[in-house]
Structure formats: structure tokens, C-alpha cells
Amino acid sequence: MVDPIDAIAHPGRRAMLRLVIDDEYPAGELAERIGMSQPATSQHLKILRDAGLVTVRVDGPRRLYRVDLHGLERLRSELDGFWEPSLQALKLAAERGDWP
């Protein structure tokens, strides 16, 4: 399992995700549109799949990639919760009363 936040940290993967939000694409066409090699594209697609952000559908000889909206929603909750652990840590530190 790849952390979706790490998955989306790469500009190339964000570009891919942007394409597959609107439509499904075979890896070859994604590679072409983004200007990446096929092997690099496959690597990045694997990371996006492991992060649950992209799903694949087999259509005869073709494998078509599309965004996984549930994954994208999980990513959003993670982003929404971004500051929460830090603020809890701040609360604990400030309430400890031993500083300054």
C-alpha cells in the first residue's frame, strides 16, 4: 500500500491522475500525452494503483486506467485532517505547563 499523499507528490503522476479523472486511457496513450516512456508510465501507474487512486479495467487486449473516486475521497479526508495531529500535539505541549 502506497500513501496517497506520497503518490500524488510527483508532478507526472498528478498529470496522469488529471487525465484519468475525465476519461479512461490505456497506458500507451497516457505515456504519449504526458511525454513519458512506457516503462516509466507503467511504474507510475503501479504506484497510483497501489495508492488506491487509479483502477484498471481489462477490455479485450487493452487495459484501461481510470481514477478511483473513493481513493480520491480518502485522499481528501487525509488532506482535511492534515493539521489535526499537529494541533493535538500543540495542545498537549501547551497544556503540560512546564514551559516557558
Binding site: 491522475l17 499537529s86 495542545k91 505541549a93
Partner: protein, 134 residues
Amino acid sequence: MTDLRYEITIRASVDVVYRHLTEREGLLRWIGVEASAQPEPGGELTWTHENGATMIGRFIELEPPSRVVFAYGWKDDLMGVPPESTTVEIHLHEEATHTLLRLTHRGLSDDNANDHETGWDYFLTKLDKHLSLP
């Protein structure tokens, strides 16, 4: 525009909370294993989390002890947020028994993402659109 907003109450004085936000020793108590802070407009602000991720920012406005605004981003453009590319604003309000802290994180959006077409806001807007489809 994607703003993240948070609110939390802390049973400590505004001064104590403010110092946790603006002094190196304070930051080391809750957010970083390493930190630097020059609490003046334009002053450096950085911290490194336990996992090694380093926030690189800069103080923009300070109104001790009730308000601090700083630029915020990540070394190596982690999460697609380059150093100083977003803004965090924190308000502290003293209540009878505690401090109310309000944090707004702005700019994880089209406005100043380098590759704005693939910034956070793009995805979140798209997501909302998809989720609201019948």
C-alpha cells in the same frame, strides 16, 4: 480555492500558545525534532518532523500574542507544495479558562501552485463535481 480550517481549544494562556508557535524551543515541543524561528516579518521558519520531512517557511505577519501568519511549504516539494508556496494564518483568542486557536491554511490551490492545472484545488473541485452527480 481550497482553504483548510481548524479550531481547537487549549487550556493555556495565549502567551504560552503564541510562544509555542513562534519560538524554536516552543516548536521543538510539539512539531519538530529540529526547528528554526526568527519571529519577525521575513524571518525564517522551518521545522523537521520525526519522519524527516522538512517544512520551509517564513514569517509574514506577527501580532503578539494573538496572530501569526507564515508562508509554508515543503523541502523537495513534498506533496506538491514547494517551500513558501502556501500561507498559514493562526489566530489566538483568550477566553476565560482557555485559548481558542483558529488556523486557516490557504493556497493549496490554483493560485500559487506551480503547476496549477494539477494542483490540489483541481482535484478537489473535480471530486466535488463527480460526487454531486446523480
